[in-house]
């Protein structure tokens, strides 16, 4: 257990219902790891537990370094400008200089004075990633990068993510319903089914696993590597 994130035997219950059952997962430093699964499998619960937004019933969560979270649905501060949204991302670290994020994501610089609520879904997702980067994270957890976005926008976001990963020493945990995208982008992957880890291993191996292809790889967006 020496990864950027180590989760051991994690169980989360909501009012008697078990959302996560004895889940163990590891995200290696400077690697991209995917967590795929159907709706209701427990993916978002795992993210909330990691971000400290829900209290686990049992198990351990160990994060080495700072963790930042890109939430499902982008979750903007809609009446604030892009610049103010980014600044709030640095709340924990008291970092307010947004220039490094504009250097990493130059598309944001052109819309820095616009209200976040007036942006397209793809632009908001970029703001959400930029806001997470303001926390100067060692681990970036992205919940549903592609949700509700056009394939072309997703491809552009994935390119940005690859560049970010290449230029910063950053461990990424990508939680995705779009299994094809996640398995193409990441080095390792876990499959979550009904709150339990059903499969895990190198992403390329899982992409060829008949159980994965049958259940998750039908007609999704393909991202050119």
């Amino acid at each position: 257990m020496t990864g950027a994130v180590d989760i051991g035997n994690l169980t989360v219950r909501y009012a008697g219902a078990t959302a996560l059952d004895d889940v163990s997962l590891s995200v290696a430093e400077n690697e991209m790891t995917a967590l795929i699964g159907a709706n209701g499998a427990g993916k978002s619960t795992l993210v909330k537990a990691l971000a400290g937004l829900v209290r686990p019933s049992s198990g351990t969560i160990s994060v080495h370094g700072r963790l930042a979270h890109v939430p499902e649905g982008r979750e903007m501060f809609p009446d604030m400008t892009v610049d103010d949204n980014l600044r709030l991302g640095g709340w924990r670290t008291r970092k307010r200089n947004t220039t490094p994020v504009y250097d990493l994501l130059p598309d944001l610089a052109a819309i820095r004075s616009r209200k976040a609520g007036s942006l397209s879904g793809g632009q908001q997702q970029m703001v959400a990633i930029g806001r997470a980067l303001m926390a100067d994270p060692d681990v970036l957890v992205i919940d549903e990068l592609s949700l509700g976005l056009a394939p072309m926008i997703v491809t552009a976001l994935v390119d940005h993510l690859r560049t970010l990963h290449a230029t910063r020493e950053l461990a990424v945990l990508l939680i995705e319903q779009n299994a094809r995208l996640a398995l193409d982008l990441c080095q390792h992957a876990y499959v979550l089914e009904s709150g339990r880890i059903a499969l895990h291993g190198p992403a390329a191996t899982l992409a060829r696993d008949p159980r994965v292809t049958a259940a998750y790889l039908g007609g999704h967006v393909t991202v050119t590597p």
Binding site: H69, F77, W91, A135
Partner: protein, 286 residues
């Protein structure tokens, strides 16, 4: 004509007090979604303490600051009791604030009795356009203008203000970026308490205060705050001023017995028209 000008200016002074109470309600509701029915009590507590401090020989300024500080402290205490326990719903917290408001009556009567109190404000009379206006009304208007300008700057330009606005805008996103929304809620209650306290110390020289003066303040303050959907301080300010002016004009021309009723009917009409256009305040619709 000079009578009307006089009513307008004194009405703005009275309305500024309502606007301060309303802005306190808005500051708390935006961040916590709680309608704080103890808001008028902060004004009463601050005014009563100020009268005591002035009687004890403290100079003006220091005594009023003491009153505002007590309002802020009372706001913090109400906040701790109302939202301190994680998971308390806004509806439950509203009932808690109502209960604390009633408890405050008992404490105020115990300490200060049930007789009206007042203290002198800015002496003298100013002549504006032929109308003779007690100078204290001009102080109320000036201080309120400065306070609203400072609040606009604070919420838009400072990190703490942005964090409070972030909690108001998207509570979940605020948690995601690491803002402690419960602590921000307590800060909002403290700010609300200070604004209520300021309303009390500013208006007491022109309107005597008793332990139950909070009813008039909360009714008018709430009406002004609801006008802006309990979320927009600028509209709460406009609503408070409109109420104050209407009441003063009605009292001047028609008789003081109906001033509150006429003003509230006016406000109710505005709210019905507004609700028909834009729908009810979300929390009210639940």
């Amino acid at each position: 004509m000079s009578d009307l000008l006089g009513y307008l200016i004194t009405g703005l002074g009275i309305g500024a007090g309502f606007a301060l109470v309303a802005s306190g309600l808005v500051a708390i509701h935006r961040v916590t979604r709680v309608v704080n029915f103890a808001q008028g009590g902060f004004a009463v507590l601050a005014a009563l303490l100020t009268s005591t401090l002035l009687s004890a020989g403290l100079p003006h300024g220091v005594a009023e600051l003491g009153g505002v500080a007590l309002g802020a402290l009372a706001g913090l205490v109400v906040g701790v009791v109302a939202i301190g326990r994680p998971g308390t719903s806004p509806g439950t917290a509203l009932i808690v604030t109502l209960g604390l408001g009633v408890l405050a009556y008992a404490i105020e009567v115990l300490i200060w009795g049930d007789q009206p109190r007042s203290f002198p404000g800015v002496p003298g009379v100013a002549e504006i356009g032929g109308a003779r206006i007690p100078a204290h009304y001009l102080l109320i208007i000036a201080v309120t203008a400065v306070v609203f300008a400072l609040m606009a700057w604070f919420f838009a330009r400072t990190d703490l203000g942005r964090a409070l606005t972030a909690c108001a805008s998207n509570r979940y996103a605020a948690q995601v970026v690491g803002i402690d929304v419960r602590r921000m809620g307590l800060l909002a209650f403290t700010i609300g308490g200070a604004l209520g306290g300021l309303a009390g110390v500013l208006t007491t020289p022109v309107q005597q205060v008793t332990f139950d003066s909070d009813v008039t303040l909360i009714v008018n303050g709430f009406a002004a705050a609801v006008l802006g959907g309990l979320t927009r301080p600028a509209i709460a300010l406009a609503g408070g001023l409109l109420l104050g002016v209407t009441q003063t004009v009605v009292a001047g021309y028609g008789g003081g017995a109906y001033q509150t009723e006429v003003a509230l009917v006016l406000m109710l009409t505005v709210m019905i028209v507004q609700a028909a256009r834009t729908g009810p305040v979300p929390e009210m619709a639940q």
